[in-house]
Amino acid sequence: MIYRRGQKVLVQGITGKQGTFWTEKMIECGTAVAGGVNPKRAGEKHLGLPVFRSAVEATKETPCDISVIFIPPLMAKDAIIDAIDAGIKTIVVLTEHIPSHDVLEIFARLRDSDSRIVGPNTAGIVTPGEGFVGIMPGHNPSIFMPGDVGVISRSGSLGTLVCLNLTRAKLGQSAFIGIGGDPIIGTTTKDALMALDKDERTKSIVLVGEIGGAMEEDAAEYAKSMKKPIVSFIAGRSSPPGKKMGHAGAIVVGNKGGYASKRAALEAARIKVADTPADVARLIAR
């Protein structure tokens, strides 16, 4: 889930408006895009890249380490299962609002494979100076710069703001991992934390969470065994309970998923919790 220079990326839905726009940005940023998928335009070239009928067909012609899904919600399941069948190791799912039962089916298929899903409803992954996969401003040097802070975020927009604040404080990033705003996601906060813990370039970690679910609590439990310093920001402190706050996963139900429980769990793991996004950079700098 950390992008490395040279890793080959397949873009499923490359010919669409967003697929085209972001493929150009990814290439501009140094990402090695191998080609794309659109069954209706197989055999053509798009942005100078080959277009394949399916991910399975693509991997027969060219190796792909990562696939990124730019496919609308009701068609996303088939595209993701195609990528799993193709044996692609990392599948970055940008799509929001995939029906929950499709998500269950995708994860049932995933269990019999060696693939990992990042997302759904993620903005993607960025390694400053190497490349990015998704819909992040990875090509914008005022937001991302190479360094040693690893950043995990459920939200793309807030993750972007946090990276911007780090960059302004001259604190570069080793990796940004957008895990997604849905309740059921393939790479949890804890999974991302474990990856950054192992990553040699990462010296400290920012964990950007939000209300809903118990992923931050699980991650905090693991963090107790870690040596790298961690700073966290949790969005949704002032959100009313019982309402989905934009993300399907960001909801406080009864006494579950609230801010206080997350903050307490993080602080019990000696993680500093910032009150504002600007404080994140200040706490990391210490």
């Binding site: 029906p99 269950l104 401003p137």
Partner: protein, 375 residues
């Protein structure tokens, strides 16, 4: 999206073959009286999408048409769980031997459907979990295999259900099937009753349709209760915008769920009160014009923070929408910007040139200024 009990029974349980009591939906005391004349002694139940009906007085017994009319008159118009009661369900009263609990839901941890069953029906699952957690049986469904009669028998093994055991198992299999075919987030029967005559009947039903599946289950979405919304929230929803009206005085317009929640949090943290949640992230970034109109239509708004941090959402497109709306609406409330990310140079130039406003470098400073201006 929640279905009221009558809709859940009619659209999910009955087509799925799960037995339910004879009943009628009534919107007036006269209809309720007529229903009891036909059905006999009955239960009169408030129809609301959520909430504790029994404790709120939303469930009454009626032996005669007069009692039914009186009960319906009292219940219709009540507010339960934040919703106004518009109708009652009149159901034949069933002599109950035992109350059970059965549900199928989406389990985030196992990323699978989860079946819950308990012999302690009649109370909330949270209550059972607290008082007697051992009384809850769980079965994680492997969706490639489904849930068979043998799986149901295994789940119920050792529970003293007597002759009703196989009928209960049958209901569980049908309930799972109903969950599976109807894109449910939750299907719950509580209580599932064993009657004195041995029949197993669903006395109540909760059904939540997965929000993302409404487009492919239009017949269920059509009978789901519309969420309780203010007029402004409704207007937002009509434009595909998630707008939540709050009681503060600092209006919020931001892109992305995380950034919008955070803007509210910083307002709150610095001593102000946010007036709304409204995000125009994702595909909605082109809707800044209508979004601004919504925020400003909230009568409590005394100042406004516009906080953009564009990744997918282009800040120049959002700024352009805001400026268009601003020129049309000519608002007098002071507005404070913070703009970063995709398209920021163009966006800042637009705001500076067209509105003569200098965006703040840090959102915290924009928020501080807005709180001050709202005082």
């Amino acid at each position: 999206m929640n279905l009221e009990e009558y809709a859940a029974k009619r659209s999910v349980l009955v087509p799925g073959g799960v037995p339910t009591p004879r009943g009628k939906v009534c919107e007036t005391p006269e209809e309720a009286a007529a229903a009891v004349r036909e059905i006999g002694p009955a239960v009169v139940k408030a129809q609301v999408p959520a909430g504790k009906r029994g404790k709120s007085g939303g469930i009454k017994m009626a032996d005669t048409p007069e009692e039914a009319g009186k009960a319906a008159g009292e219940i219709i118009g009540m507010t339960i769980g934040g919703s106004q009661v518009r109708r009652v369900l009149i159901e034949e009263r069933c002599p109950i031997e035992r109350e059970l609990y059965a549900a199928v839901l989406i389990d985030v941890v196992s990323r699978s459907p989860l079946i819950l069953f308990s012999t302690e029906g009649g109370m909330d699952i949270e209550e059972i979990a607290e008082k007697n957690p051992a009384a809850i049986r769980r079965h994680v469904v492997d969706i490639k295999r489904g849930f068979s009669a043998a799986d149901a028998a295994e789940l119920l093994k050792g529970l003293d259900l007597g002759k009703a055991s196989s009928a209960v198992g049958e209901v569980l299999v049908k309930l799972y099937k109903a969950f599976d075919t109807n894109d449910a987030e939750l299907t719950e029967i509580n209580p599932l009753a064993i009657l004195k005559d041995g029949r197993v009947v669903a006395l109540d039903c909760k059904f939540t349709l997965d929000d993302a599946s409404g487009v492919r289950k239009p017949e269920l979405a059509a009978v789901a209760s519309p969420p309780e919304m203010t007029a402004l929230e409704k207007r937002g929803a009509e434009h595909g915008l998630k707008f939540i009206q709050l009681d503060g005085n600092v209006g919020v317009l931001a892109n992305g769920a995380g950034l919008t929640m955070t803007t509210m949090d910083v307002i709150d943290h610095l001593g102000g009160k946010p007036a709304n949640f409204l995000e125009i992230g994702g595909e909605a970034y082109t809707k800044a014009e209508i979004a601004l109109d919504l925020v400003l239509s909230n009568p409590g708004v005394k100042s406004l923070v516009i906080n953009f941090c564009g990744a997918f959402a282009r800040t120049d497109v959002m700024a352009d929408g805001v400026i268009k709306a601003w020129k049309k609406l000519k608002p007098t409330v002071p507005v404070f910007f913070s703009i970063h990310g995709t398209g920021q140079e163009e966006a800042i130039k637009l705001v500076r040139g067209e509105l003569g406003i200098e965006p703040y470098d840090f959102m915290e400073d924009a928020v501080k200024a807005a709180i001050e201006a709202a005082k």
